[in-house]
């Protein structure tokens, strides 16, 4: 456990030193969201109806585009094989990397979501529910994406391959995340949605670090 936290704080310090790496997904997220009113018009009823789906899809894209480089620095520096040789279980090391990735790449997106929600005329309750679903769902997105990132670790020019590979696996999370906001707008009970999304996230926490570790070992021993 101490190992996990010290690794997370180490990763966080590194990311904070190069601010560019965690600001880029945030800027991408905001710009893409702003493109929608510019392209489909500023009719507030329309915008508030499609806002949850829009924000969810954009968050998903922001994760998919950036997570491909999760292991890239290690791979280029050659420290990846050191990671594999370390006496600690690889899945814990991987999980720490994914956790710090989520803290630096997804948490900022969730923090600006209320702002974007109000810009898109989304009622306050729905903004709250949207943030909660993002909070529950994005860890699963990162965990599943990490498997793909580990598989493609040595491949150059994999920019579009990772989305193709991982996107179908994101569909259930997307469906439940946006449906919860829809249900909130119709004043239906929400606990079932949160329970299912929580189940997705815990299932990915249990399985994804192990699969990622397996994929990394396969890639390095080739």
């Amino acid at each position: 456990m101490t190992l996990f936290f010290s690794l997370v704080s180490y990763e966080l310090r590194i990311t904070m030193r190069q601010a560019f790496s965690w600001v880029t997904p945030l800027v991408f997220f905001i710009i893409v969201i702003c493109l929608f009113p510019l392209s489909i018009g500023t009719h507030s009823a329309l915008l508030s109806e499609i806002a949850p789906g829009m924000i969810w899809v954009t968050a998903l894209l922001a994760v998919l585009i950036s997570i491909g480089s999760l292991f890239r620095t290690e791979d280029e520096e050659g420290s990846l094989s050191l990671l594999l040789l370390s006496p600690y279980p690889l899945s814990v090391l991987v999980f720490a990397k994914i956790a710090s990735y989520w803290l630096t790449h997804c948490l900022p997106l969730i923090c600006v979501t209320p702002l974007l929600g109000f810009m898109l005329h989304l009622p306050a309750l729905q903004v709250l529910v949207l943030c909660l679903t993002l909070l529950l769902g994005t860890p699963a997105l990162c965990l599943l994406g990490a498997i793909g990132a580990a598989l493609l670790v040595g491949i150059r020019g994999n920019g579009l391959l990772l989305p193709i590979l991982i996107m179908p696996l994101y569909i259930p999370i997307l469906i439940f995340g946006t449906s919860a906001v829809l249900a909130a707008s119709q004043e239906q009970p929400l606990s079932a949605y949160f329970a299912i999304m929580g189940a997705f996230t815990f299932m990915s926490v249990a399985m994804a670090p192990i699969l990622t570790a397996v994929a990394l070992r396969m890639g390095v021993s080739q």
Binding site: L144, I147, G148, L151, L152, I155, N158, L161, I164, L165, I166, M167, P168, L169, I171, P172, I175, F176, S179, L182, F200, M207, L211, V214, A215, M218, G219, Q222
Partner: protein, 245 residues
């Protein structure tokens, strides 16, 4: 027993020999099943009382959708054999199945859409079954893309096996969430395809066509696998003899 099987039954060499013996029979059986299914399905079976002759599209749509799913599960089984027991033949089978499965999925999508036009009045609706077949198609595409980008063969086999496994774990989750999503967003108009129990005279051609699709899958799979085995085992003595003969 298992070691013996791995040494003898599942070795590429013995598979090459056995599959060569099986192929003509598979082809004959396929032609027989397809012939019976086509004649019975297109000519003998009576028209449906609701859908008229349009229901005959079912005889290619249902088998292709069924085969598309089954091929993906076969790939997942091969993936386990590849990852856990390192059966060489399973990796070949998995990688050779993917293009055939993808073509079946494509067929299921397009024939479903052709069937939908006269029945629903539109080429595409976001029906739960159509949507989950579409997602299955995406899964196949991801697998094939990964396969085509990885150069080193041993790593490619294992990476593809991993992604096939992850896909098959997710497939039921995706399927049920799509069904649930569909009931949430569905307008009340479409319930035409809720079919009553099928009459036997319509069932026999369907079974024959399903058998035909599987026999076709097996025969093309065997041909593909034989090609791949020659390529992968090119340094061995027996391949040299096969090529020179």
């Amino acid at each position: 027993m298992w070691d013996w099987l791995k040494q003898n039954g599942l070795s590429p060499k013995s598979f090459y020999r056995t599959s060569g013996l099986c192929l003509p029979w598979l082809t004959v059986l396929f032609l027989g099943c397809a012939g019976f299914g086509l004649i019975d399905g297109l000519y003998i079976a009576p028209a449906d009382y609701q859908q008229g002759d349009g229901f005959r599209i079912m005889y290619v749509h249902v088998p292709s959708a069924f085969a598309a799913m089954a091929v993906y599960f076969a790939m997942a089984i091969c993936a386990v054999l590849t990852l856990v027991w390192r059966v060489k033949l399973a990796a070949v089978c998995m990688s050779c199945s993917a293009p055939i499965g993808a073509s079946f999925t494509f067929l299921a999508l397009v024939t479903g859409s052709i069937w939908g036009k006269p029945m629903w009045g539109t080429w595409w609706i976001w029906d739960a079954r159509l949507t989950s077949v579409l997602i299955l198609f995406f899964l196949y595409m991801g697998f094939i893309a990964l396969q085509s980008i990885l150069a080193e063969q041993h790593y490619r086999d294992r990476a593809c096996a991993l992604i096939a496994l992850v896909g098959v774990i997710n497939l039921p989750i995706i399927h049920y969430s799509v069904i649930w999503w569909n009931t949430l967003h569905q307008g009340p108009s479409i319930s035409q395809l809720a079919k009553p129990a099928i009459a036997p005279s319509m069932l026999y051609p369907l079974l024959a066509m399903i058998a035909a699709f599987f026999l076709f899958y097996l025969s093309v799979l065997f041909m593909r696998m034989r090609n791949q085995i020659l390529l992968r085992e090119k340094h061995t003595h027996w391949v040299r003899e096969v090529v020179l003969s």
